[in-house]
Symmetry: C4
Subunit: 274 residues, 4 copies
């Protein structure tokens, strides 16, 4: 009895986890869940439009249906989580699972539905979290590997990137206060306080330039020009860091690859060197 | 008789295909066709202006002339297509040719002219496809090689690029819905629905910033700032990936180049030195 | 007596300098000063808002408190500066310290407070300099190293970067004068003089494009298009230079690292193999 | 007599050419000319302002003075040009010099002054060319070398860059015609013809986004979004190409540097290998 239960549990675990190449049931499950997530994204977007009543009605039904499926999925994942962390006990592995990033997303994606039953707060805003569930698409291993290269490069270079960002942030902060002091007398309705200055600094540094806020005095224009030109550096420096990071990654892979090929032998005595 | 026919066909094939360096007829043909394509591009553009009657008249004549040439060219290419794929039979090679990318472009470029004769639909919009025919300029081998390097780098790195683009698209989608929810109460005429939010997200992420849509609430400005700064990453990450790709390409070429040179032999004792 | 004084001085020096890993007092001092600097940044920003009287009162008190601490800190740093440059005499090392970058920032950060006592000029603007003191955060060694890599790359490539910037500046200057001549007749209120042209050139080159100034004539639009496209190069060239700089840096580090490992010896006959 | 003349000529040649490190007269000449060029740039800019009469008067005097100096300089350069190309005859070397890039700039910079004496056309616009003379600053060898690295990288990669630019230009052309067709019915005053479309395409592709022209229909916004996102590639691809080019340059230099060090010797018979 126990053995059969265990077999079922193992099969459930196989299905809800990343699909093996020859596991049809698991693949169908994956496609079904991702389709349902995409449908929910469409629903969240559709909700911002004024739609006729019957579409709202269908939309609501589909949402209830999705939530039921997502809830079952969540419970199954929780149930089989001890197989995910075989090194821990049943209780520890479940707690670990509950507080893992994807599980929290999964929970917050279904919670707003049940919330009104428990507390009288409108948590519909949390429905947006269902969109984050789209990350499940990265189960497709090809893209997961590619993404993990990107994230590992960003992680390797994080110190350099953070340092650059900090200097940029400092520069923005300082220039926003200076700009406020320069422009406030000329256009007090636009540069109201240092936050207006910061809003301008970000729009200029990132070269977005909406055009809702810009200097009109000569002094302000000079400062703005300097900031805009430094903004080029804001792109160039992190790009350079990241490029170098990707190159390093490629060379490391190549070295690991050639390590086996590059075993040297002394051609005279035939012994393996190094 | 058959042999002469075959010789003619082979000559036609040589002429309409990429010109050999010493094939004057083929080169003249290439220049003639590209000139005609450029003329058609000018005609398509000129058509958007209000021009006097006699220019419209000339323009129409030139178009008819071009279409006749393009039709003859298309038929000749179709006729000689079995020489392009010598490994296949006559029929298979023609079907293959018809559904190749450039042949489809060629077909769509002449189709709108004949369409009214067959079906009562206005297909003039398809005339724009004639512009794509400008790609024939890449027959000049120097640029074809350069372009093929670019496309091969993009292809090698496509997994990484698609993954980054997917994360960015997700980020855009989520921020557009959040932004709609933040800004809609403050400016309901600008942030009408989630699509307005998406339009804003794209304008901000790509740092275009037309200025037709931007947040006015404090919350919205904070979100917008974050999105604009992440937009820098939107440039930096693919640039880094592509830079690394080009470097890898260069090193591969160099390795292939030096592979033959790098086999060292001691010229005195004749032994190969690793 | 003198020895005790020297010990106290050395301890003070240890505390105010970058903290050793196991020096708790020094770490607490660092955190305290950085917190105080951050508080001052908040005060400078808050000052741009219209706040109720009692907050202004508290803010003023906090400022006086900070200034006192910063003054004490400055005096202590000056006092112990002969330990920073042990190779120089007492007087020389103090003069060196006073004119070092960070010491000047420190001085200008406290000066505006004392200035009214000496001269009847409002130097409150200099309070902004207190924000630069945030650079003290870079005492955390991890980020200092990362930043020093960034600055060393920028320094190595400074000649190439300056040359590019000079060409760009020249291009901007020329195009601003040309643009003024083209657009002034059409919109004399917008393109008032060559400075308006320069303001437009910078907004276009850096792709900020606020939308307050842009050409409306056909000629002007053609020039603007060329400038905007060259603006892409403005990003691409320095980014390329900086990327290459980072790569060079990484390879240099690797070479230094492997230099010791790469001396091969045949362990059997003892001969060194190149 | 002839020998003295030749000596004078040689000395003049030394002075007006790039200064040797220990040639004071030549250095003073360089600084004098560059100062005069800068003064002229200031005059060209000042001319766009409405200035009081006496400044206009001084400005005119300074211009006359500069022109006289520039004319003398031009004549001296022409006179000594046979020393610049010693391999050619007197006449050929002078013709070569006259049609060299810098000499043409020099000529066009002084021509507008003499033009009214010859032909009744206003050539004042050519005064802008005097700004290009600022390129003479690159005589400072440090920056010349740096700039030559930049230009050699751009030259090496020109085929790839031109191919990318061509694809981008084609994409712009096509999208501008499509955009015109989409937006013209909705806002006929803004999207007047295909050129309006092209102006929009460039503003979007380069992410300048002035905000004077943007789509308002749903279709147009979708196309605009696609173009803006592809615009990211417009930056990423050339940046990647250029980065790789700089890296290649650095490695080549390194190889040339190490070539001498890397001469292999057979450690057994002592003979030089390779």
């Amino acid at each position: 009895m126990d053995s059969i239960m265990h077999k079922i549990k193992h099969r459930v675990f196989e299905i809800i986890q990343t699909a093996a190449d020859d596991d049809k049931a698991s693949k169908i499950f994956d496609i079904f869940i991702i389709t349902l997530i995409m449908l929910n994204v469409v629903l969240v977007i559709a909700d911002t439009f004024t739609l006729p009543y019957y579409i709202k009605y269908i939309s609501r039904r589909l949402e209830v249906f999705s939530i039921i499926i997502f809830t079952i999925e969540y419970i199954l994942r929780l149930w089989t989580s001890d197989m995910l962390y075989p090194q821990y006990g049943k209780f520890v592995s479940r707690v670990r699972y509950i507080f893992s990033f994807m599980a929290l997303i999964d929970l917050f994606a279904i919670l707003p539905f049940y919330a009104p039953l428990l507390i009288p707060i409108d948590l519909r805003a949390l429905r947006i979290l269902r969109m984050i569930r789209l990350l499940r698409i990265f189960k497709v291993s090809r893209y997961t590997n590619a993404l993990s290269v990107v994230t590992s490069v960003l992680k390797n270079k994080s110190n350099q990137l953070i340092s650059s960002v900090f200097v940029v942030a400092l520069l923005m902060l300082i220039s926003s206060v200076i700009m406020y002091n320069i422009e406030n007398p000329a256009q007090p309705d636009v540069f109201i306080n240092a936050f207006s200055g910061l809003w301008w600094a970000i729009a200029t540094f990132t070269t977005v330039g909406y055009g809702d806020i810009y200097p009109i005095t000569a002094c302000g224009k000079v400062l703005s020009s300097v900031i805009a030109l430094l903004g080029i550096g804001l792109v160039a420096v992190p790009t350079g860091i990241i490029s170098a990071g990707f190159m390093e990654q490629i060379e490391q892979e190549k070295e690991e690859h050639t390590e086996n090929k590059e075993k040297h032998f002394c051609p005279y005595c035939g012994e393996r060197l190094d």
